[in-house]
Amino acid sequence: MNAIEIVKLTKYYGKICALNKMSLDVPEGTIYGLVGPNGAGKTTLIKALVGSLQPDSGYAKVLDLDPLKDKWKLRQQIGYMPQSPALYDDLSARNNILFFGKGQHVPDLQKKVDEILSFAELTKRANDAVRTFSGGMKKRVSLCCALIHNPKIIFLDEPTAAVDPHLKMQSWILFRKLAQKGVTIFVSTHQMDEAMLCDQVTILRNGEILAVDTPQNILKLGKTNVKIITNNEEKVSVIDSTPQSLADELKKYGLEKNISSVELHSDTIEDIILSIVQEKEKGNKS
């Protein structure tokens, strides 16, 4: 079953077309990525789906409900984390989460707030005013506010921008756990490493869909340069970005025929910094 159904959704801001007859279906319980540069229409689409934007034409259904006509029913079942933190700076992290939790009549709220603060590693700063927080910490509080009422669909507009690599990884582990429980995650990002963690990805540009596929299939569209140097002789070949293509290419140079796939993973600068931090933390604890 589809959690979200979008049919020919169109929105103009003056002469600028933010969404151009966009149609797509989002299956329930998936992590669905919306990828594209700034101004691609990611935020506009999310706003239309949460019912804070009136489209010019077309329609959308979220959990089989109209985001505008059935707003009260729908708003109990969705979580929304906007691009900006959208928090009360003069309130503490705890009071911000409590406020949005009360709005959704969350049972056993105090306990849930404690749990979610612990997940976001904010317990020590729970009672400090949000204005004293860094950008990444504010994002964490904002994420807690979106998750506090156990929504069926969560709309996340660039949720991990300005968040440190460790918490970013933790957030994606949580998103995966939620998806396994049947929660649909609709997430916009312009970070390609995050797109790879989605079940399905839609690439947007200027309000139009350029591609809809799994990240693995989209990756196949890419090319990899293989440079092999033997006896000072350099040979460069361009192959598909798949482990199978790399194995086939290396077979020309004597790779055993029974090896069908070769995958390389080099640590990114983020991975390296994360492992240094973790090593240091381990050292401090022992």
Binding site: G51, R75, S84, L91, N95
Partner: protein, 245 residues
């Protein structure tokens, strides 16, 4: 109704946390009343400044309550918290009701402190009944100003959009409502504009209250109109507060 109280409580907690805003809201009017005293001290003795004191005191509360409330709500819009509240299940009516209730306390403190300072500073010798009635009218006007601020904020996308409303609403309040001169001598169209502004009715009531022969029946209509403004602005703000872009 529950949501209204949740928002009101949040507004109060927020006000408690924002000490600069709180100080500005309470100390600001007191400083301006002192400046008013300095100005009135320069007037020749034949001008009865005491009859101007209370109307101007009411005007100071009106202006500051309006501007501070409008700017705070516009900030909610800019920060995205207004949108988030609406998507988070809060209705427009509960947002407006919550804000009004939240500022209710602040408006009460403003009315009490400003009235007390004016009576002390200008050595006004009113009896208890007059002081209570003056408090009621200034307090009612403060509530109207909060509602006006909420209503005007629905037309503003950022703080700067609030400022054009100062010459549009606040300045005509000074010239056309009887604050400085009786509006009877003004052209009819100017009198009509003056009568559209809520402070006109507050000034009318104040002028009557400070007369020794005053009875409450003299100003029932003005009280009614001032209260009517609260409900009218509540309905208007509910209609104009946008849920969608």
């Amino acid at each position: 109704m529950n949501h209204t109280f949740i928002i009101a409580r949040r507004v109060l907690t927020q006000l408690k946390g924002d000490r600069r805003f709180l100080a500005l809201s309470i100390i600001g009017p007191l400083i301006i009343v002192y400046f008013l005293k300095l100005l009135f001290n320069t007037f020749p003795p034949m001008i009865d400044v005491k009859s101007y004191t209370m109307p101007f005191t009411a005007f100071i509360v009106h202006f500051l309550s309006f501007i501070l409330c409008a700017i705070l709500l516009v900030q909610e819009r800019i920060n995205g918290t207004l949108e988030r509240m609406m998507i988070g299940g809060f209705s427009k009516t509960s947002i407006i009701g919550g804000y009004t209730l939240g500022y209710f306390g602040l408006a009460t403190i403003q009315a009490i402190t400003v009235l007390a300072e004016s009576i002390w500073l200008f050595k006004l010798s009113y009896d208890t009944k007059t002081v209570v009635l003056l408090f009621i009218v200034i307090w009612l006007l403060a509530i109207v100003s909060v509602m006006l601020g909420i209503f005007i904020s629905t037309f503003a996308k950022h703080e700067a959009h609030v400022f054009p409303f100062i010459p549009l609403i606040i300045l005509p309040s000074v010239f056309l409502t009887g604050l400085i001169i009786k509006p009877d001598g003004l052209p009819l169209w100017a009198q009509i504009i003056g009568k559209c502004l809520p402070i006109h009715y507050a000034v009318n009531i104040i002028h009557e209250i400070i007369k020794p022969t005053y009875t409450i029946t003299d100003t029932l209509l003005d009280y009614g109109i001032l209260t009517g403004y609260i409900f009218a602005l509540l309905v208007l703000a509910s209609l104009t507060l946008k849920e969608t872009e």
